[in-house]
């Protein structure tokens, strides 16, 4: 794949096909952890890192283990084990290496195992038949796109924290409307890059 094609994959993962706003993945932690910008930044960076690494790991596992052994139907179970194991190892390494980094990212890592965006990125990468390099770029781009969306959301929610919102819309309701408007805005990126 050429550099331009890789850039196209990255750009579309961040903007035109944002994993959160067009594929709705990772909504639970998106709604739950977007109350303050600080939390959003911590979770966002953890997702970028884990998603980029697990896409590559799962690509290798899928193409070098599952396909030759004809065990493709086991991919869900294998992917989730790879993700959980990776998160666990990273958590232990961070704990040993840096107190500050652990304080910043540590509490978010367990949440990530059950973040559907991570598993979703791996599944999309298989369905779209990306190469190894493209998978890395796609994982990275999806992570960045997710982080951009949750940061923007947290910024908006901090602003509207003291606004008067109709009773039924408090909390999740207003967050969904904000997400909808953000999704509308991101649709503006459609056609900026012509893929395929």
């Amino acid at each position: 794949m050429t550099g331009v094609a890789l850039f196209a994959v990255f750009f579309s993962a961040v903007f035109t096909n944002n994993i959160l706003l067009t594929n709705y993945l990772g909504m639970c932690s998106f709604l739950g952890a977007s109350k303050t910008v600080k939390t959003a930044l911590g979770l966002g960076s953890a997702v970028v890192f884990v998603m980029a690494c697990t896409s590559v790991l799962n690509w290798v596992v899928y193409h070098y283990i599952l396909v030759p052994l004809d065990l493709v139907y086991l991919r869900f179970i294998v992917f989730i084990i790879v993700i959980a194991a990776f998160v666990q190892i990273v958590e232990m390494i961070i704990e040993r290496l840096s107190e500050a980094l652990y304080a910043a990212l540590g509490i978010f890592l367990p949440l990530i195992t059950v973040n559907c965006a991570i598993l979703g990125a791996s599944l999309f990468m298989i369905i779209r038949q990306y190469s190894l390099a493209a998978s890395f770029v796609y994982g990275l781009g999806s992570g960045v796109g997710w982080a951009v969306a949750i940061l923007a959301m947290a910024g908006i929610r901090e602003k509207i924290a003291h606004s008067r919102i109709p009773h039924g819309l408090e909390g999740a309701g207003i967050a969904l409307i904000v997400a909808g408007i953000m999704a509308l805005a991101f649709m503006g990126f459609n056609g900026v890059l012509n893929l395929n």
Partner: protein
């Protein structure tokens, strides 16, 4: 298991403690598969199957699962059932399987299932857990079906692929796209929380 208890479990999951509009769990698939009614129904059946059986299995094994690795065990149990669902859908409904894409696999990370396993199955007997899983699945399903009905009707003028609105109807194409899903769910939550459920302090927040 007393009949009264079962009734209570069902009422709670369908209404006052509904996984979608009260606990705000499992929103990913709520939004992603609800643009066409048929896909939604398939997805809901899959989810009810997985929630009910995985809840029961976790409950059966609850005395042997070491608490340190219980999340991992739960995920593995859930994933096994999801593989069954995926294979069945691929074999019987290949078109739907293609349209649902990765979302069948993503039932694994649907927080409703994990949530029920953690909150209910680990401390309750198998039959009650089966009922609870079934109820949670149904509570999720009817919300999805209502949303899918509105989105398909407004977005394509059809229900179950059959055209019901005449030629005069201009499709709201936004309803089948991403933003429409967010708005639709927000409106649904608004109506339910604002008008149907009595006000009882601040709304509970999500998740995981």
């Amino acid at each position: 298991m007393a009949a009264g208890r079962t009734k209570q479990i069902f009422l709670k999951n369908l209404g006052s403690d509904n996984p979608v509009f009260i606990q705000v769990l499992g929103i990913c698939s709520t939004l992603a598969v609800t643009n066409v009614l048929k896909n939604t129904l398939v997805m809901c059946l899959g989810l009810v199957f997985v929630t009910a059986l995985s809840n029961m299995s976790v409950s059966l094994l609850r005395k042997w699962i070491p608490s340190r690795v219980r999340m991992m065990v739960e995920v593995l149990i859930i994933a096994s059932y999801v593989i069954i669902v995926d294979i069945v859908i691929q074999a019987c409904l290949p078109d739907v399987s293609r349209q649902l894409g990765p979302y069948v696999g993503l039932i694994i990370t649907n927080c409703i299932i994990m949530g029920r396993a953690e909150a209910f199955a680990l401390s309750n007997p198998p039959l009650a857990s089966l009922a609870d899983g079934l109820a949670a699945g149904l509570g999720y399903s009817y919300v999805l079906l209502v949303i899918a009905f509105c989105r398909e009707l407004l977005g394509s003028g059809t229900i179950w692929g059959i055209r019901v609105l005449g030629e005069w109807w201009v499709n709201w194409s936004i309803m089948v796209m991403a933003p429409g899903a967010f708005f639709m769910l927000a409106v649904f939550i608004w109506i339910v929380k604002g008008y149907l459920i009595p006000r009882d302090g601040p709304a509970k927040e999500c998740c995981q």
